[in-house]
């Protein structure tokens, strides 16, 4: 391997090789003489001049010469000329290329996807042999489609099979993934190519780590000319109460697109068009209704507004479930003590609360038409009615017991023991667990002032496995919960009749009573539609126990799932309706889930790609290319000139060996002669 020197002048330092020799020869003259009593005997020894000039310790002498020679060579900075670079070095010149290809729903607009693929193909065609390339497809999340590989055919095949998804755009996560891959590469030249429509909604100003130094960041904008597009931003369903039949009013709103003019929206139920209306007003809304839903558990409804650059957002699908009120059975002693509770429950919005009042004792038949039973200062039934109430709870029903004068004890199966009445003039609500679902409406800072409530009397309550989300200021339980199989048993230890406490007069009373009812009834508000990529949770209460269901996707794909009393989690990968049916042949429809393209994808306006480049810490392409060239050049130079490091290390080793040999020689001499001056 030929060697050249960057600073050959330092080779003159090789003359320093004479230094150890000269030092050796002149060593004695320079030293202070050793005073000795008499040279009488020394003079008698034949003196040989040749002995004085003789090198006695050749290893020591050679090591010193070697150290000086290596030092001179190191300072001369030897390097391997460019022609002498190895094949491995040539490989190191190849690039690490990452192609980030946007496949979000907005890329389906106009010819963006075709342009994007053409750009990606052009990038692949422009690669040098030995370049390593990776293809990332990204929407809301990045996915490695191919690579890192030097096989361009592999990447090209992955590119041909790629299609736009129905998901939104997140540039930050894609850039982070690409950055991580580039940072882990050992290749000095790195290139990142982002092919996208640079949709503004895809960038939320996230902070991302800068790309590795010297990375060339190229951005290929395939947005084309500004395109007019309008999508649905939201839909609202209101229960139609005027007709007395199950039905909903549909109000939908279009995204405000200044380029679109008048738009007509069509409503379709179960695939059949049932009417159309223009989008009017500043908010471009249209209202349909009422839509009769009949006896079906859910109906698939869609609003359409054809036209616009993006076809995927022309339809908004949603599920209209028949409005189902929360049925509350209020049981009291018939003394009007539950008036406050009754009035509070009667004032309901969505969902609607239906209240039925009964005077104790409770009859078993009353439970058939109830989701929740409120016992206000009324004793729980025993005997057959008591067993029926217990089964009601175990099957998932809810029971709220408000203790008062008339509830001195609770049935044994509740596992709760009621104590005597405690009276106090200074009591109020103390510790409140606002993360408990009953108090969730009051979880916002400053919401729900329970401290203003004065509590005069309450009953003590104890029991096993008791969850106490609220306590009085003396630490006693104010609200307690105990799960009974699938049901929820809630106990309030002070009556709500304005006699034991002034809670009914407080602003928190109405939302608290509503929340008690909804929580006990296990009521969950489910969205009418989801965005592709989300996971829908479907509670299949209709199923008695462990049964199988079949999920039929929008594309007709059928998936069998076992249900064991738990809500069904459904990953939504396509836009359209997902049907959940009984697994048996001709099984009835159990539920319906609608999935749509991310509404934000309807906003096709683009951002300036430079903003993204700056955020990613990349310089402009020309500068980046130059810096990469410099970096590659300097890195290569450093590699070729790295010999001097090894030479310096060798100098260190030679000096260490010299010290070792020297000390051994001196040690040998010491052992030869006894120490002087010792008694």
């Amino acid at each position: 391997m030929p060697l050249a020197f960057l600073v050959p002048l330092f080779l003159a330092g090789l003359t320093a090789l004479a230094i150890p020799l000269v030092v050796h020869l002149r060593h004695r003259e320079r030293k202070d003489p050793v005073r000795f009593p008499s040279l009488m005997f020394l003079r008698r020894i034949p003196f040989r001049e040749a002995r004085r000039q003789q090198i006695h310790h050749w290893p020591l002498f050679l090591l010193r010469l070697l150290a000086v020679a290596l030092l001179a060579l190191a300072f001369a900075r030897p390097f391997v000329p460019e022609g002498g670079a190895t094949a491995a070095g040539a490989d190191a010149n190849r690039r690490e290329v990452v192609i980030l290809l946007d496949r979000s729903a907005s890329m389906g607009a106009a010819a963006r996807w075709l342009d994007a693929r053409d750009s990606a193909r052009a990038v692949l065609a422009g690669l040098q042999p030995g370049d390593r390339v990776s293809l990332f497809l990204f929407d809301a999340a990045p996915e490695v489609a191919a690579g890192p590989t030097t096989d361009r055919a592999l990447v090209a095949a992955a590119l041909e099979t790629a299609t736009p998804s129905m998901r939104g755009t997140r540039y930050a996560v894609a850039l982070r993934a690409a950055r991580d891959l580039l940072a882990g590469s050992e290749r000095p030249q790195r290139t990142l190519i982002l092919i996208s429509d640079f949709q503004r909604v895809g960038w939320r100003g996230e902070v991302i780590e800068p790309l590795p130094l010297g990375t060339t960041f190229r951005m290929v904008d395939v947005a084309g000319d500004p395109a007019a597009n309008a999508g649905f931003s939201e839909v609202e369903l209101l229960e139609e109460a005027r007709t007395g039949r199950p039905g909903v009013l549909v109000t939908t709103q279009l995204t405000a697109d200044s380029t679109s003019t008048a738009a007509t929206i069509t409503l379709a139920v179960e695939g059949r068009s049932v009417g159309s209306a223009p989008a009017t007003g500043a908010r471009r809304t249209a209202t349909f209704g009422p839509v009769t839903l009949g006896d079906l558990p859910a109906r698939g409804v869609a609003v359409r507004q054809p036209g616009g650059a993006l076809a995927a957002d022309d339809t908004l699908r949603f599920v209209a479930n028949p409005p189902r009120p929360v049925r509350v059975l209020l049981v009291d002693r018939g003394d009007g003590g539950s008036a406050f509770v009754e009035r509070a429950l009667a004032i309901s919005g969505t969902p609607r609360v239906e209240v039925t009042t009964r005077t104790a004792p409770l009859r078993a038949a009353d439970l058939d038409a109830a989701d929740v039973v409120f016992f206000h200062d009324a004793s729980l039934p025993g005997g057959a009615s008591g067993d029926r109430l217990r089964r009601f709870l175990e099957d998932g029903g809810g029971v709220v017991v408000v203790l008062g004068e008339g509830t001195a004890r609770l049935p044994e199966w509740t596992g709760l023991r009621v104590g005597p009445i405690v009276e106090s003039a200074t009591l109020t609500f103390g510790a409140l667990r606002r993360d408990h679902p009953v108090f969730e409406p009051f979880s916002a800072p400053g919401a729900g002032d329970f401290g203003a409530t004065r509590v005069l009397r309450y009953r003590g309550l104890t029991g096993d496995s008791l969850d106490v989300p609220a306590r009085y200021s003396d630490g006693a339980a104010a609200v307690a919960e105990r799960g009974v199989a699938r049901g929820r048993l809630l106990v309030l230890t002070a009556s709500l009749d304005n006699a034991w406490s002034d809670l009914p007069l407080q602003p928190v009373f109405l939302p608290l009573v509503h929340q008690l009812a909804l929580y006990a009834a296990r009521h969950v508000e489910r969205p009418s539609n989801y965005v592709v990529g989300q996971v829908a949770t479907v509670g299949l209460d209709q199923l008695a126990g462990n049964e199988a269901v079949v999920i039929v996707g929008p594309s007709g794909q059928r998936t069998r799932r076992e249900v064991s009393g738990q809500p069904l989690a459904l990953q939504l990968d396509e836009a359209g309706f997902y049907e959940i049916r009984e697994a048996r042949a001709g099984g009835r429809l159990l539920d319906l889930v609608a999935a749509n393209v991310d509404p934000e994808e309807a906003r096709l306006d683009s951002m300036d790609p430079a903003d993204l480049g700056i955020a990613a810490g990349a310089v402009d392409s020309a500068t980046a290319a130059a810096s990469v060239a410099e970096l590659a050049s300097s890195t290569e130079q450093e590699r070729r000139q790295g010999v001097w490091w090894f030479l310096l290390a060798a100098v260190g080793l030679a000096l260490a060996a010299e010290t070792l040999v020297g000390s051994r020689i001196r040690g040998y001499v010491r052992t030869m002669t006894p120490a002087t001056g010792e008694p």
């Binding site: 000795f36 008499s38 004085r52 001499v669 002087t676």
Partner: protein, 304 residues
């Protein structure tokens, strides 16, 4: 080596390195000798001869045989000669103060060692009621204190304030001493004997010819015996200032051989002249030298 924390014992004071810390030479000599004699049998008083001390006027009742008639003839008065008890030894210590004696590879130079030894011998002899004399010499005799029982302090003082002299062999001053020695006695020579053995032998023969018993202490530094030098250097003669480039490891063996020969030759020659010879390594305690002296002193008393 004495463990730390213990009181020094008398034998510790025989260590030249310890002695070097004692400034007062008389104290040093007394300490060493007392410590050395501690545990030895006290030697019997040697001889009963009398030595004139002074004249005193005759008093009635005095022995008329002790009247000095010569003095009566000169002064016409009666005086009695008084005598003091006299030991049977005249000890003359010859201390070499040449420049070569100043060499020290450790804490104590040969000259210091010689001073301690001379002081100790003087003190020791004084305890035995010997008469003490001192001769300091380098190439020639520098100072001469004739032996006397009253010269102890003078001797110690001379040893204490001595200044190293120049160079020169031992034979010259020994010849001078031989010429001036009056009566027979004990001559103690303390020197490094850097001279040709033949010349030393001849000079010693002259001293012996005066009837004196001779005891020679040959002081050598450990470095002179072992030549432990490592690096090649120029060696400078302390007496002449001459320099010689030396590669110690080459010359070491030969040098040791020459020193051994020299010592052996001296020992043989001294033995032939019935001169007691003791080679003293200055790193070793003084007791060896003192034993040598004591043994010789006792032998002397037996032959008398």
């Amino acid at each position: 080596m004495r463990p730390t924390g213990q009181e020094p014992t008398a034998s510790d004071f025989l260590d030249p390195a310890v002695l070097a810390t004692i400034g007062n030479l008389e104290l040093l000599a007394r300490t060493v000798v007392d410590g050395f004699l501690h545990g030895l049998h006290r030697s019997s008083r040697l001889g009963l001869s009398m030595e004139f001390a002074e004249h005193r006027p005759y008093m009635p009742g005095d022995d008329i045989r002790r009247i000095d008639w010569r003095l009566y003839g000169r002064t016409d008065r009666y005086y009695l000669k008084t005598y003091e008890a006299e030991t049977n030894a005249r000890v003359t210590i010859l201390l070499d103060v040449s420049r070569s004696m100043t060499y020290a590879s450790g804490a104590v130079s040969k000259l210091d060692y010689g001073r301690y030894l001379a002081a100790c011998l003087a003190w020791f002899s004084a305890r035995q009621r010997d008469r003490i004399g001192l001769v300091l010499f380098d190439g020639e005799v520098r100072e001469w204190i004739p032996p006397s029982t009253r010269h102890l302090r003078m001797v110690l003082h001379a040893i204490d304030r001595l200044v190293p002299g120049g160079g020169g062999g031992v034979a010259g001053p020994l010849t001078q001493v031989a010429e001036r020695l009056g009566r027979r006695g004990l001559v103690v020579i303390i020197s490094d004997f850097y001279d040709e053995p033949d010349r030393v032998r001849d000079a010693i023969g002259l001293v012996r010819a005066t009837g004196a018993d001779v005891l020679a202490f040959h002081l050598l530094d450990p470095a002179e015996l072992e030549f432990p030098f490592e690096s090649a250097s120029a060696f400078e003669d302390l007496e002449t200032g001459d320099r010689l480039p030396v590669v110690p490891e080459d010359l070491r063996a030969r040098y040791r051989e020459l020193v051994r020969d020299h010592v052996g030759r001296l020992e043989r020659d001294f033995g032939a002249n019935r001169v007691d010879y003791a080679l003293c390594d200055t790193s070793r305690p003084l007791d060896y030298a003192l034993y040598t002296y004591l043994a010789r002193r006792q032998e002397l008393s037996r032959t008398r």
